[in-house]
Amino acid sequence: MTDVIDKVEILDRVDGDLELLLELIDLFRDDSSRLISELRTAVSREDAALIEQNAHALKGSVGNFGAAMAYSAAAKLEAIGGTGDLSEAAGAFGVLETEIERVQNALASYAVEISNENTRS
């Protein structure tokens, strides 16, 4: 099974800057929760444009952490919003919500791991 997040890719992206990484994890926690709740509203209101926009933003966010599953879940919902046929929107949103939670959890443990290493060294 693939990892939820790709730590090698993450470290490469921040150029080994762990402080920046912790900041990004913080940012992601708040921002992804906001986007998920906006997506929930957009799905219930059947607002295709808003679904597309928020799913796109989430896709961009998770892409930075090498979160492949979450990325494709977001891409799928974005595509649904783009076509305007929302029959599968609720289902796709459910998948994305679960994936985002997994990313959030994985990042939270990674943050703890980094902090511990920092204190040890």
Partner: protein, 345 residues
């Protein structure tokens, strides 16, 4: 390099910002398209811009089109940020005027080289613009005095003539020539002569109104274009210029050199000339008259004599043969008193 980055995803924005700063750039980070567009319209806005394709407020591609419509100098180099597998977006973006694109999530080393390529273009453009500005300045200004050169002042005169004609306003042209300049060169040498030309130019330029133009059209010959100015005002200004030249000797390494200048004034009245060359010719005739009447004086072109000035001249004609200058003499002395107080230096 000053770089503007617009990206609505906070993670990507933070990453871009941090990276670009680490590489020594000055980064303006914008969270949406509208903010980016506002910042781009400010003076001194960055010439290198990284725009996310999809943003609330204003998408990157729209900003890109607006930047190209602005036609700003120097050139704005635009890099679009786009998601993977969006070939049609890339094509549309390049079509809209983007110079390059980066696919998200971005690869830092790719970002680095693409930004460097952009910075190179921006730098080239800036150098080119600076060189063009210098060339423009050289092509329109006199190297010794910094005044407009002959070609430029003719062009300005022609444009002002057209404008004042359209607006139904008068325009006056003054031609001036340093008296016995050859003697100054012969006696004090060319460096001192050059200093006289420079100082005379400074005095002319600082004695005219802000919307007047001064040019050097020959060795010691100058032209003043005075838009909105009728003949009487033109004579007043020419008198002020004359007094500012003769009032104080020019200080040179060879010692103070007293100089005087002769002036010819002509007015465009809406029917007497059709082109600026005619106006130059008439001003030149008046200047010739000033020279032949003893120099250090202001003369008006004969065909320009207004009824009021003509009357003054007729009254004085028994003293000197039909000279306009005689008619102007009382005017001059009246005005000179006030002029001395504002003389530069």
């Amino acid at each position: 390099m000053k770089i503007l980055v617009a990206e609505d995803d906070k993670i990507t924005l933070k990453l871009l910002e941090t990276r670009l700063r680490k590489w020594g750039n000055d980064v303006i980070a914008c969270a949406d398209g509208l903010e980016a567009w506002e910042r781009l319209q400010e003076p001194e806005a960055p010439a290198l811009v990284i725009l996310d394709w999809m943003m609330p407020g204003m998408p990157g591609v729209n900003i890109c089109r607006k930047i190209r419509e602005m036609n700003r100098r120097p050139y704005v180099y635009v890099i679009l940020l786009t998601a993977k597998n969006r070939k049609e977006d890339i094509l549309e973006g390049l079509e809209a005027g983007a110079d390059d694109y980066i696919v998200k999530p971005f690869d830092p080393s790719e970002l680095k080289v693409r930004v460097r390529a952009g910075a190179r273009i921006v730098k080239l453009q800036e150098d080119l613009m600076a060189a063009l500005d210098v060339a423009d300045y050289r092509a329109s200004h006199d190297g010794l005095t910094g005044l407009w050169n002959r070609v430029a002042i003719l062009d300005i005169g022609s444009k002002e003539l057209e404008r004042t004609q359209r607006e139904g306003r008068p325009m006056t042209l003054v031609m001036a020539d340093l008296d016995h300049f050859k003697r100054i060169n012969d006696r004090y040498g060319h460096p001192a002569g050059d200093e006289v030309l420079r100082e005379v130019s400074r005095r002319l330029a600082s004695s005219v109104r802000i919307y007047d133009s001064v040019g050097r059209v020959g060795g010691e010959e100058f032209v003043m274009v005075l838009p909105g100015c009728d003949r009487e005002e033109g004579v007043t200004i020419a008198e002020r210029l004359r007094a500012s030249i003769s009032g104080t000797p020019v200080v040179t390494p060879e010692g103070p050199i007293p100089v005087t200048m002769s002036f010819g004034v002509t007015e465009f009245q809406g029917r007497n000339v059709t082109d600026v060359a005619t106006l130059f010719k008439k001003a030149d005739e008046a200047l010739y008259k000033a020279k032949s009447k003893g120099r250090n004086r202001v003369e008006v072109c004969r065909s320009d004599i207004s009824p009021m000035l003509g009357l003054l001249m007729e009254n004085r004609s028994e003293h000197c043969d039909a000279s306009e200058h005689c008619g102007l003499a009382p005017l001059q002395s009246q005005r000179l008193a006030g002029v001395d107080a504002v003389r530069p230096i």
